[in-house]
């Protein structure tokens, strides 16, 4: 779980996780508040970036750490409380059953985007179209932070997009590496705090530009 300036709500988000899972890894991405102090009070692996690098970098740090400590399956989970801990069991099922190497959460496979603003729906659909054109991968949700990776796929995937373009980069690599993937319906809760701190719609162009530039200049 990547976390940046989440001191106020990281405890609440982690409550569900720490009761269900033994190894929860949280990467504090150079927070300016006392997120890291809060993490040390909780039964989780607490990692800290000395400087803020971005969500993509924090995810890769967490994945490296988990793989290095022998994880068989790595699940990524956003810190802002938008995901439902009960979705994880269904999410990892395709990997446990060896049907897929990567399981991607999708809020568009059911009626599972609670209180999603229409503008956000439109931007996410544009993201799906963009990914289909640029990466030639057919998915219904491109920027869902809830994913599960088998150990082998977690080792193969390498996130180089430090900031928000990492979600597109992960899909691009899944296609490039030929990893078997499956989408799983998951719920995303759009509370006021999620909308306040989350990506603004206007950032979509910047994310697309970062992704394309990253592909051009390696």
């Amino acid at each position: 779980m990547p976390a940046y300036n989440e001191a106020a709500r990281i405890g609440t988000t982690l409550q569900g996780l720490i009761h269900h899972f033994r190894n929860v890894v949280v990467v504090d991405d150079g927070s300016k508040d006392n997120t890291f102090d809060r993490l040390q009070e909780l039964p989780v692996w607490a990692l800290r970036h000395p400087i803020n690098l971005g969500q993509g970098a924090a995810l890769q740090t967490g994945i490296d750490f988990a793989v290095g400590h022998g994880a068989d399956i790595v699940v990524t989970f956003d810190a802002d409380g938008q995901h439902d801990v009960h979705d994880i069991e269904r999410l990892v099922e395709p990997i446990v059953a060896k049907r897929a190497e990567v399981a991607l959460g999708s809020r568009f496979l059911g009626n599972d985007a609670v209180n999603m603003p229409t503008s956000r729906w439109f931007i996410l659909k544009l993201g799906v179209l963009f990914t289909r054109v640029c990466s030639r991968i057919k998915v219904t949700d491109t920027h869902n932070g809830l994913r599960a990776l088998s150990r082998s796929s977690a080792t193969k995937l390498r996130i180089t997009q430090n900031r928000m373009a990492h979600a597109s980069e992960i899909l691009d690599q899944i296609q490039y590496l030929g990893l078997k993937f499956e989408e799983v319906p998951v719920t995303v809760h759009y509370s006021d705090v999620v909308l306040e701190k989350g990506q603004q719609n206007s950032a979509a162009v910047k994310v697309a530009a970062q992704f394309l530039l990253g592909r051009m200049v390696r």
Partner: protein, 119 residues
């Protein structure tokens, strides 16, 4: 010489002097210093004799001397932008790797696990 030539030659001469003094003081002449000195000398020749640039333009099939300068500056700008962007990306990846190394090696281990306690 017109006013522009006086100003440009003064600037070029000062820059050339700085380069030469640095090269003499360090007692070493590498390709980068030689390249910079060559550029300043070429610039001085072009400023003092603008006809050279026009003749060069005609020789390679470009109409005006000013056009060749625009092409050279544009191509240099594009090449420089790509060069510095790729340098910036490489530097950013190095910083990321270093930060990641520190984060992983200084990870704080949880004392107890609630999942273990519950089950």
């Amino acid at each position: 010489m017109n006013l522009f030539q006086w100003v440009a030659i003064t600037f070029i001469a000062a820059s050339l002097m700085v380069e030469i003094i640095r090269a003499v003081r360090s007692k070493r002449m590498n390709w980068a210093k030689s390249f910079r000195i060559s550029i300043w000398i070429a610039a001085a020749i072009c400023v003092l004799n603008p006809g050279i640039v026009t003749r060069l333009a005609h020789t390679i099939g470009i109409g005006r001397g000013a056009d060749i300068l625009i092409y050279v500056v544009t191509l240099t700008f594009i090449a420089t932008t790509f060069y510095f962007y790729s340098r910036y990306m490489r530097l950013q990846r190095q910083i990321t790797d270093l930060t990641r190394y520190l984060a992983i090696h200084e990870a704080k281990q949880p004392e107890t696990s609630l999942a273990d306690r519950d089950h």
